[in-house]
């Protein structure tokens, strides 16, 4: 169990966090290989259904990352998303998912190091929680 690595799905905004992840890569910054990245046009594109479906699929955790407030490529996508995130976090945790399974961050295209730190923190949080136990049908947990 000690060398167990969580599988985390990451929904990254094309304009900042995805570029931040790219920068972490080209800068050869080391971070845990736990992410499965889905590139989206904006953090505002993150439908609650995507997060819940990912948990249903058996992912151990979900990370959503977008541009810092004020930096949205579409001006207000992340502001609207922020309200949605607050509610989905509340609902998911009320449902019985442990705090930390679903996390959110703002990472700009220039913050390769922050991206690596976020991934390290989220991975560590989820490693402590252990494998996903909720909602996923047993045969779907890989």
């Amino acid at each position: 169990m000690s060398d167990w690595q969580p599988r985390i799905i990451a929904f990254l905004c094309n304009w900042c966090s995805y570029a931040g992840a790219d920068l972490a890569g080209v800068s050869r910054i080391q971070y845990p290989p736990t992410l499965r990245v889905v590139r989206l046009p904006c953090s505002g594109r993150v439908d609650p259904l995507l997060i819940l479906r990912a948990l249903r699929e058996g992912y151990d955790g979900v990370l959503v990352s977008g541009c810092h407030p004020g930096d949205c490529h579409y001006l207000s996508g992340n502001y609207v998303a922020r309200r949605k995130f607050a509610v989905i976090k509340a609902v998911v945790e009320h449902l019985g998912f442990e705090p930390g399974r679903v996390q959110f961050s703002w990472v700009s295209a220039g913050e390769g190091e922050k991206f690596a730190n976020v991934v390290a923190k989220v991975t560590e949080d989820i490693r402590k929680l252990g494998p996903a136990r909720r909602m996923a049908a047993a045969e779907q947990v890989k």
Binding site: P48, R53, R56, Y79, R83, V91, L95, G96, F104
Partner: protein, 327 residues
């Protein structure tokens, strides 16, 4: 003094006779003792069927939004002027539909009726030990119920919908006509008490609770069909391409359905309890929905359906919204 139903009929008669409304949507006696039926009155002569009492649980705002024709091209029909007989939550749902651009304000006349709470058939069933109730007659704060071989008096408070016990808007906050002065809400209870009780427990306890609740669900979608806020032309649960999740009663699929539905109604739900009363198996749908409502209320200070000016909470934003949870 004229009874509430008589005042209501007079009001409906007037609106129809003067041509201010093309149709009045109200309640009529149903074929089951505890459930009124929706009633669409199109001429002044038909108003006699209208009633209003503890059995009028359906949220009539549901009928304001017409089914959206999909893939059909048709010329726009002249919009009907609809008068809605609205208790507090019906009126709030109508306002929310206006705010969301589903209906035009000038095409709906909100007839406010003071509501003293509506009966939840599940709670009534519990109160009489699961026996079938064939008749009920309210008298003051009690309800006389009768069935095959029994007659009983139950306290009204015990059988009203849980949402009514914490109701703060017995009369629609926005209305065009008010048939009778506001009454005191049957409320008084703390509306988030159940949410806080659950929140005080561990995630495991909450999961066990919701697993038990949602395990009852047979995926009939009565909750969606009764919900005035569910007006999508194609609901996510009916979509096949992509099919977002299974249509079986697999506990994970059921959980996903309820969680996503709560997200879809977050900040829009008026807590009318129509879903709970419509549910054939008694799922405590509000247990999760109230958590979203609490978050929206506390974090953004928004309440659905109380003002025509306020944008839907999750379609608006403030640059200074709190973001302590974001890394």
């Amino acid at each position: 003094m004229a009874s509430l139903a008589e005042k209501l009929r007079d009001c409906a008669r007037g609106l129809l006779a003067e041509g201010k409304a093309d149709v009045v949507i109200g309640h009529a006696a149903g074929t089951l003792p505890m459930r009124s039926a929706p009633c669409f009155v199109r001429s002044a002569g038909e108003v006699e069927g209208l009633i209003f009492d503890h059995t009028c649980g359906a949220n009539l705002a549901k009928y304001l939004v017409k089914d959206k024709p999909r893939g059909k091209k048709g010329e726009a029909a002249k919009p009907e002027k609809v008068a809605l007989i609205a208790k507090g939550c019906d009126g709030r749902a109508a306002v929310q539909l206006v705010v969301e651009g589903q209906i035009a304000r000038e095409n709906v006349i909100i007839i406010g009726v003071p509501c003293r709470g509506v009966i939840d058939p599940h709670r009534l069933g519990e109160a009489v030990g699961g026996r079938e109730v064939l008749s009920c007659r309210p008298e003051g704060e009690s309800l006389f119920v009768g069935g095959d071989g029994f007659k009983e008096k139950v306290e009204l408070r015990e059988v009203l919908s849980e949402c009514c016990l914490s109701c703060r808007h017995p009369v629609p906050p926005v209305h065009d006509v008010l048939v009778e002065e506001a009454v005191e809400a049957p409320g008084g209870a703390d509306e988030f008490a159940a949410v806080e009780k659950l929140a005080a427990g561990s995630p495991d306890e909450r999961w066990a609770f919701f697993e038990r609740e949602f395990f009852k669900c047979i995926r009939c979608y009565a909750c969606r069909n009764a919900c005035p806020m569910c007006f999508c032309g194609e609901c996510f649960i009916d979509q096949n391409d992509p099919q977002w999740f299974g249509k079986s009663t697999d506990p994970g699929d059921t959980m996903l359905f309820h969680a996503v539905r709560v997200m879809h109604t977050a900040g829009r739900c008026v807590d009318c309890g129509a879903c709970v009363r419509a549910c054939p198996v008694g799922v405590d749908i509000r247990a999760l929905a109230k958590r979203a409502e609490k978050e929206v209320r506390e974090r953004f200070g928004c309440e659905a359906g109380v003002s025509l000016e306020e944008a839907p909470a999750l379609a608006a934003f403030d640059e200074d919204d709190p973001q302590e949870f974001i890394l």
